[in-house]
């Protein structure tokens, strides 16, 4: 068993209490009067969040306003938190569409797999994080709510440009 011992060499000859305290006071006073403060005044000022920020979901729509989703069932399959509820429907021409598409924001871990797996680029995570609600039931986002979100969507990681430049 190796024991690592560090022999403390405190420069006793140079130690002082009173003068060192005054030096410390001078330093903290410098910070006291320094106009540069790091606090961000949150509701008024906000941080710029990154282009790959994964936040509140958003469902993109086609030109006629319906969801792009084709109810393929890939996203509920890939979802590790099992938070997507999808009930597929089919119209007269045989086109599949979601009858129910609910995302439980409580269960969601914001991994972004649903966005990555989506073949139609329909479901996206958004660059948005203020998703507090007053009631628990309001955290289950239905299709209407997902399509009516307007915040910018999260960009996917591009292997050709790994740093997002």
């Amino acid at each position: 068993m190796a024991i690592t011992t560090r022999v403390v060499d405190r420069p006793v000859d140079e130690s002082s209490y009173i003068r060192a305290t005054f030096q410390g006071l001078a330093l903290s006073f410098k910070h006291l009067v320094d106009p540069h403060k790091v606090t961000v005044q949150y509701p008024e000022e906000k941080w710029d969040i990154g282009p790959r920020w994964r936040g509140t979901h958003r469902m993109l729509t086609t030109e006629d306003g319906t969801a792009k989703c084709v109810a393929c069932g890939l996203c509920p399959t890939v979802c590790p938190a099992n938070c997507i509820k999808l009930v597929p429907g089919e119209d007269a021409e045989g086109n599949r569409y979601p009858l129910v598409f609910d995302i439980d924001e409580f269960r969601c871990i914001f991994c972004g797999y649903c966005q990555e797996v989506c073949p139609e680029e329909a479901i996206h995570l958004g660059r948005h994080y203020e998703n507090a609600e007053y009631e628990r039931k309001d955290f289950i986002y239905d299709l209407k709510r997902l399509t009516s979100q307007t915040h910018p969507v999260c960009e996917m990681w591009d292997p050709a440009d790994p740093r997002g430049e």
Binding site: V7, D9, S15, G24
Partner: protein
Amino acid sequence: MTHAMSLLLQAANPQLPPTDGMFILFGLIKAGAAFGIYMLCVAYTTLAERRVAAWIQDRLGPNRVGWEGFLQPIADGVKNFMKEESMPGGVNKALFILAPALAFVPAMITWAVIPFASPLPVPGVGLIDMVVADLPVGFLFTLAISSLGVYGVTIAGWSSNNKYALLGGLRASAQMISYEIAMGMSTVCVLLLAGNVNLSAVVSQQQAQGWNVLLLTLAFFIFAVAALAETNRVPFDLPEAESELIAGYHAEYSSMRYSMFPLAEYANIITSSSLIVALFFGGWDIPFTTWDNLPPWTITKTLATMGMYVSKVMFFVFAFIWLRWTVPRFRYDQLMSLGWKVLLPMALLYITAVASMVLALDYAALAREGMAFRGAMLGMNLVFVVLVFWVLDRGRIISPAFSRLERERVNRLRAVAERSDLLTGKGA
């Protein structure tokens, strides 16, 4: 007849002391006003602490409630009153409830004897002293009452039925007793110069002789350190050392009962600052002028001196906060060593020196207000300041004797470490 005449004369002349009835009435008014203002100041010291702490740490601090956070203390008070009061199992109920009051009241009472402005002439009444109670034993009273403050803390710790709280309370009592002695000793020098224990007399002595901080810097230094320790503030906040004792003596308290302890701390800060100002910084004296010290007294003088006094006290309150956010906490053994092995002997030596000097100068029949007396005191003070701040405060570590690492021992240890792979971990 003559009595009635003198009463009339008093009433006519606002430069004479008031009649007994008026004295009592104005005493009550002063007590009420001082209580209100004091409580307000305590509340706003909490805000000052939070904001200064934030600025020192490059943050902004609470600035939302009201303009720049000026209603924050009120919001805090409302919050604390609305919170649930918890009563843990096994507490001694009577003492548990009494302790916060015991902590708070002494800090406030102490303030009653501190003069805060030049006397105020009230037309038709007489000259009102701007001190709540001008006790002849003024300073002894503050010493007696401030020692009572430890009861609140200790009883809070003991009655909580919690081992950390008890440890905090015990530390507080040990610490306060240790530093009380150094504090009392350091002020003996001031009383030697003033020849009186009445704080108004101490203030007028400083107006005549110059501020005591110039003549007795070392006494001021010891007093300030001991005052820091008495208020349980960093670097002496061992009783509530959060990393060791959760919150120390108030670990079991909640809501307004808890809030009384921080309030008591801030009340103590204001009282200590007021005492420092009264004893060492000339009280309400305005420096470089004698206009404010001489009768006839006017309302302008009262307001000006009160402004001076308030700004001095505010500076020291700020200094207390500033120190808190600068220096780290002492270790317990260092705390005790500092109190008993450094401050107390230093204070005793200093008393001896000052007493001998004063005695010698009095024998030489030098007037106390004279240049020669002041010059001699100033010279001795300079020697002591250089000695303590530059010579003695060098190459020493406040610590128990056995933990001191001598240079030779360090080298020996290092040699052992070099030889042994086990110790350095190189062989592993």
